[in-house]
């Protein structure tokens, strides 16, 4: 536990020595501020074009930011010899990676808190403040996106040998899960018999943290009916308080599974030297 804490604090410190953290922080703050100021005052509450645009901004930026910062931090340990040094101490892989995970989550959440705080405060000055409920949902959504994608970043960092490789894979995964997702799915699902499409689609949504989070947020913002009769039961189920609990459980499972996989891959690399 103390090892994990030490690694996490070290990660926090290293994270903010990294110029990438500041460039992402600036990017996120500037874009969310610009969006808040462009929007009309109508539609700040509920599921509207204004809130929809904010959701999309987060979906574009946060997964990419998380994947790159997360995987770079891990591969840097390999490239720069940090891990070689640390592994000469009595430090388990799981404590090391959990510490890295927690520290990185801290760094990313601070970046988001900075951006939201800045844009929210300036927006409020200009009379474009989101209602507290929407703002709170956005924060939760952003944090969940970071935590889930950080799991993927950990696996990526464990697999890749250097930052270049991590960059290539990271951008590919981001493109696959965020930008190309509907295109790929529509192309693939077209081969399935009609009745299999919906179950397959739902299964695949659980495999994509960006879509899973997005749909959950839309339902929680009261937009569930837009998904149509096909998802009637799903929406009714998520709207209930137990839906949030189950969703939280799914997220925890996701994080545990991806971190577990990352530890396993890392261990394998360690055993082989």
């Amino acid at each position: 536990m103390r090892q994990t804490r030490t690694i996490a604090l070290r990660e926090l410190k290293l994270g903010f020595r990294n110029p990438w953290a500041y460039s992402f922080m600036a990017l996120f703050a500037v874009f969310s501020l610009a969006l808040v100021l462009i929007q009309s005052q109508e539609g700040l509450s509920g599921y509207t074009s204004t809130t929809g645009t904010m959701i999309n901004l987060m979906l574009y930026l946060l997964p990419l930011m998380t994947l790159l910062l997360g995987s770079f931090s891990l591969t840097a340990e390999k490239e720069e010899g940090g891990w070689q040094l640390l592994s000469s101490y009595a430090l388990s892989t799981s404590a090391f990676l959990s510490g890295k995970y927690l520290g990185l989550a801290g760094v990313l959440i601070l970046i988001v808190a900075f951006g939201f705080g800045l844009s929210g405060a300036i927006g409020a000055v200009f009379g474009h403040a989101f209602p507290p409920a929407s703002f709170g949902l956005f924060l939760v959504f952003a944090v969940l996106l970071i935590l889930l994608f950080l799991g993927i970043a950990a696996i990526l960092g464990a697999i890749c040998r250097n930052r270049w490789q991590a960059l290539t894979y990271g951008v590919a995964i981001w493109f696959f899960l965020v930008l190309g997702w509907p295109t790929l799915l529509i192309a693939l699902l077209g081969f399935l018999p009609y009745l299999w499409i919906k179950p397959a689609l739902i299964g695949l949504i659980f495999a994509n943290p960006a879509e899973l989070n997005r749909l959950f947020l839309i339902v929680k913002m009261g937009g569930g009916s837009i998904l149509g009769p096909e998802y009637y039961h799903w929406v009714g189920w998520i709207e209930r308080p137990t839906g949030s609990l189950v969703f939280a459980a799914v997220c925890v499972l996701w994080i545990a599974a991806s971190l577990g996989l990352a530890i396993w891959v890392w261990e394998r690399g360690r055993a082989r030297g």
Binding site: G46, G120, P182, I186, I226
Partner: protein
């Protein structure tokens, strides 16, 4: 010590018993109070039979009367307060068979749970029903082959005892017109019913200034000529105004909001509607603001479409015009498939940055509406899960080849013609300013303390 503690308790119990006794005596002495209402209700029919044609029957405001009753001569029935007519029998509480009857300030409670059976049945002409209060487990006021009637300022409340969750099929309509022409329905409040106002095969119905909420459809017109739907409001229904198989309807100045819970919700639904005018309505916060299917040659003008998930949806519709309206803060502003020759002109689209070279306030660039997503989900409904997916514009862009058949606003207005909404509450704003400033400051402090600072 123990005694001292016990005494107040015993005294309290005695006092309570004394109060109970006084209450019982009082109840026993006062005649006709609520406690024994059901048994003591006075049969209404003999009172009606005893009233001469053209006369007035005044019911005592604090007494219950028992239905069912049939009125077969032109009389007035009113009460000096709000007389309660209770009905448990198989017939409607009141049946109007003669022309020129007036009902005023009555309260009708119908406890039969059959959606096909109304509390009040009107089968005659030129009657005036005013200030009624109808509580029903079935239907409210039904007009059958009844013309030129007025139903004014009444309140009809449907099944609520099981909460608002009672299946729509188990509820009756609030006001239901069948083969009934030229009736006026004005100033009524309809709630927890199947359809607030249902008009079928009835021409020239005038429906004005009513409110309908928590029902299936607020106002529902089927196969009726020239109905007028003006200045009504509808909230939290499955659909606010549903117009089907109608020619020459006038839908004006209505306000439909928050029809968004059901997967089939709309503000205004026009199905197989032709040569009708839909003007100056405001649809806000619905799943779909205005939905048109198989509708032709309608004129939509000056409508405000705000904060809906989809502003307007047009399917297999042709020759409609949509002018001088505003589309603001809808997640998707409009969608259209299999529709042609629809003219959009002079509307304000809040997501559009146009170009105005001649300074007339209208953009010289057109606003184009991409049919891609609607086309995609029409075949496979499960794809609706991609609604607003960040990767979808990317895909739509790749398929964006020929836009000649797209729905377009040829002359988009660059500034909203409508006054902006009332500003958000100031308290909210200051709270958010303080909260965001705190979030910003604490993130900076943490970054400085555990990130930046050496040691």
């Amino acid at each position: 010590m123990k005694k001292a503690f016990r005494r107040p308790g015993g005294g309290w119990r005695r006092t309570a018993r004394a109060i109970g006794l006084v209450g019982f005596l009082f109840a026993a002495c006062a005649p006709g109070t609520q406690g024994s209402a059901a048994e003591e209700a006075i049969p209404l029919q003999p009172l009606i039979d005893g009233t001469p044609s053209g006369g007035t029957l005044v019911l005592a405001g604090d007494r219950p009367y028992a239905g069912p009753a049939v009125i077969d001569k032109p009389i007035s029935v009113r009460s000096d307060g709000e007389a309660r007519i209770v009905n448990d029998e198989d017939e409607p509480a009141l049946t109007l068979r003669a022309d020129g009857i007036r009902l005023d300030r009555l309260s009708v409670t119908d406890r039969r749970a059959d959606p096909k059976k109304p509390a009040i049945l009107v089968q005659s002409d030129r009657n005036r029903l005013e200030d009624l209060r109808v509580e029903t487990r079935g239907g409210g006021i039904y007009l059958r082959e009844a013309n030129d009637n007025d139903i004014l300022n009444s309140r009809i409340e449907g099944l609520r005892m099981n909460g608002a969750n009672t299946a729509y099929s188990k509820r009756g309509n609030g006001i239901d017109l069948m083969k009934a022409n030229r009736n006026r329905i004005e100033g009524n409040t309809l709630s927890y019913v199947h359809d607030g106002v249902y008009v079928e095969s009835s021409n020239e119905a005038v429906v004005q200034n009513n409110q309908a909420f928590d029902s299936r459809y607020g106002y529902h017109f089927m196969f009726s000529g020239k109905p007028l739907l003006r200045n009504n409001t509808g909230s939290r229904n499955v659909t606010g105004g549903m117009i089907m198989g109608v020619e020459g309807a006038m839908v004006e100045g209505n306000r439909f909001d928050k029809q968004n819970e059901n997967v089939h919700s709309q503000g205004i639904l026009l199905f197989d509607v032709h040569r009708s005018e839909i003007v100056r309505n405001r649809v806000e916060g619905n799943r779909v603001g205005i939905y048109m299917e198989g509708a032709t040659e309608n004129a939509l003008a000056e409508n405000e479409v705000v904060r809906n998930f989809i502003g307007m949806q047009m399917i297999r519709s042709a020759g409609n015009t949509f002018r001088d309206g505003a589309f603001v803060a809808n997640v998707i502003q409009a969608q259209s498939v299999d529709s042609k020759d629809n003219a959009l002109e002079g509307n304000y689209w809040d997501d559009f940055r146009g170009l105005d070279t001649d300074g007339d306030g209208f953009s010289d660039l057109t606003y184009e509406i991409d049919p891609f997503f609607l086309g995609l989900t029409e075949d496979i409904e499960a794809y609706q899960a991609f609604f607003q997916s960040p990767g979808l514009p990317f895909l739509a862009q790749m398929f964006r080849a020929d836009t000649t058949n797209w729905l377009k606003d040829t002359r988009p207005l660059l500034a909203s013609p409508f006054a902006p909404d009332e500003r958000q509450p100031e308290g909210n704003r200051w709270f958010m300013l303080a909260a965001c400033a705190a979030l910003f400051a604490s993130s900076l402090a943490i970054i400085y303390r555990w990130g930046y600072r050496k040691s």
